[in-house]
């Protein structure tokens, strides 16, 4: 160990450490001090994927993927269709078990009542006649005892989440009667109600309107002050202006340590792409080529 140390200020890395951390040279910008049952943890990594290979029916969609989610991350996941973006999210959420490799969750995520990962799906397979009000839907996200009926505290927590996503006025409406954008805001409130440390979003604006996009991204930037965000997006303009780092998924995964979209990022995308410009509002200069 001593032989590998070197002079100078900065961290002293042992050979063993460099070998393990090879794929993730990033240092966390913040930590979470997590106190649970008289024990304190300093949390650096919330979710860690190591050499993960996963897919469906024995066919691997993502191979040998490494990714760490740190407490203040805002990771934009991009890649071609069928490249494994959704598979990656499902592995992180624990919805599918990897064929190979390991997914590790920080103890901070394993709350007493609740697993602290919030999830906003692209679209929920939902029967529009399902009898649930907006309040009912958000209540399903509130950490509560699993037994008995929902109490006043649970309703207050749900209300708070609905206020954060700006749809508190819809509380009593049947969920099935909402527009696409309203639905996504309610489901985002449901995800927030879980009091997540990591918020995972799968192309949240696919079936919504422009107004929803304009509302969503500033909200996410605000939420990012208190939680890590991992978001799949097809919109590179959004990626360039809101996320902090970019993960390109195309079978394998490249995690770029900034949100600059340069040739290197595009090379891993393997697809001709819209021209990106920086500015206050994300906008395209040219139309999509397809």
């Amino acid at each position: 160990m001593m032989t590998d140390s070197f002079m100078g200020d900065g961290p002293v890395l042992s050979a063993k450490d460099t070998e393990n951390k090879q794929s993730q040279p990033r240092a966390p910008r913040s930590y979470i001090l997590y106190i649970c049952r008289y024990k304190a943890f300093l949390v650096e990594t919330l979710i860690s994927l190591q050499h993960v290979t996963a897919g469906y029916e024995g066919k691997a969609v993502i191979k040998e993927v490494n990714l760490d989610v740190l407490p203040d991350d805002f990771i934009g996941v991009i890649g071609p269709n069928g490249g494994g973006k959704t598979t990656l999210l499902k592995v992180m959420l624990g919805l599918i078990r990897p064929f190979k490799g390991k997914v590790t969750y920080s103890p901070a995520l394993q709350g007493e009542k609740q697993f602290k990962i919030g999830y906003l799906p692209q679209w929920i397979q939902h029967d529009s006649r399902y009898p649930a009000s907006v309040m009912d839907v958000v209540l399903t996200g509130v950490p509560t005892q699993s037994f008995g009926l929902y109490g006043k505290m649970a309703r207050m927590a749900a209300m708070e989440a609905l206020e954060k996503t700006g749809v508190a006025d819809l509380t009593r409406k049947p969920f099935g009667e909402l527009s696409g954008g309203q639905r996504q805001k309610v489901l985002l409130a449901r995800a927030l109600a879980t009091r997540p440390l990591v918020l995972i979003l799968d192309e949240p604006d696919t079936f919504t309107d422009q107004q929803f996009e304009r509302d969503l991204y500033p909200m996410l930037r605000e939420f990012n002050k208190n939680m890590a965000i991992v978001m799949v997006s097809h919109d590179l303009g959004i990626i360039a202006s809101y996320v902090k780092t970019i993960a390109c998924v195309n079978g394998g995964l490249h995690h770029h340590p900034s949100n600059m979209i340069d040739e290197k990022v595009l090379a891993s995308y393997e697809c001709p792409i819209d021209i990106i410009t920086h500015g206050d509002l994300p906008h395209r200069v040219l139309n999509r080529h397809d």
Partner: protein, 276 residues
């Protein structure tokens, strides 16, 4: 009218009323679960599969609903577990269990020596012949259904609204699915006694359809379904007495009538509101 009042003096009629009440409680609640999760076809499968159990029970000379319960629960669990795998399409499996149960039942009743007099009452139900044992079991079932749904309401709402999200929250999705399928199976089996295999599905779907016209929330849908089911059963029993027709068919007829009335009432209500 005095004729109807006199009826209340008879034990068989008191039993019938109690059976209608308890069946309505159990089916009003489990039926809401079935309808909202779109499991109506599955319930039809379980109902008919249980006929296999009735046939075997006849052959062995044991309590027929015990055989029905075994067949119902086994087929429900098979469907729950196989729907997660890709080995067979769930609806094909339901169709297979549906006809397999009927086939087994037919074979065993055929080879049972002697005449089986009350077979018809299992196909079409007869609420007027429920026994003390039937009532005790119905009472236990209704209590069980109410207790489970009150205790597990948050989990049931969560799992039935969005199973995937429930799994991301590490909720016991499969346990909930299994517990509820067992309750559904038992409700079906006990309702066979009242409405018969052919008509069970009505208790699980029609009151819920009527309630669905007036409410869009899970908890109120359950409560309203129970009330409508009780009202429909009592009116149906009364009609069965007055017109001297089979009680099961009469109850279903009343349910449908209630549905049409509710639909008409609702559309008038909407028109009035629009004109205002």
């Amino acid at each position: 009218m005095t004729g109807v009042l006199e009826l209340f003096g008879y034990t068989f009629f008191q039993h019938a009323l109690l059976a209608a009440l308890l069946t309505s409680i159990a089916c009003g609640i489990t039926g809401t679960y079935i309808v909202t999760r779109r499991l109506v076809f599955l319930s039809g499968g379980i109902t008919h599969a249980s006929f296999g159990g009735i046939g075997i029970a006849f052959y062995l000379g044991i309590y027929p609903l015990a055989g029905a319960a075994v067949f119902a629960i086994i087929s429900a669990l098979l469907i729950v577990f196989f729907s997660k795998r890709d080995a067979i399409r769930p609806d094909s499996l339901i169709g297979m269990l549906w006809s397999f149960g009927m086939a087994v039942g037919t074979i065993f009743i055929f080879i049972t020596s002697g005449y089986t007099p009350n077979l018809m009452s299992y196909l079409f139900g007869n609420i007027l012949t429920v026994t003390q044992l039937d009532l005790t079991l119905l009472g236990l079932l209704a209590t069980g259904v109410v207790v489970v749904f009150m205790l597990l309401y948050p989990l049931i709402l969560s799992v039935s609204f969005d199973e995937e999200f429930a799994r991301t929250r590490r909720q016991p999705v499969q346990v909930i699915n299994v517990v509820l399928m067992v309750l559904v199976s038992l409700s079906i089996v006990m309702t066979i006694r009242v409405a018969g295999i052919v008509l069970v599905i009505s208790y699980l779907t029609i009151p819920q359809a009527v309630a669905g016209i007036f409410t869009r929330r899970l908890s109120s849908l359950m409560i309203l379904s129970v009330i409508i089911s009780i009202v429909g059963s009592l009116l149906g029993l009364w009609a069965a007495y007055v017109y001297d027709i089979p009680s099961g068919a009469s109850i279903i007829f009343t349910f449908i009538l209630l549905f049409l009335l509710a639909k008409a009432f609702r559309s008038i209500q909407i028109k009035v509101a629009a004109n205002r």
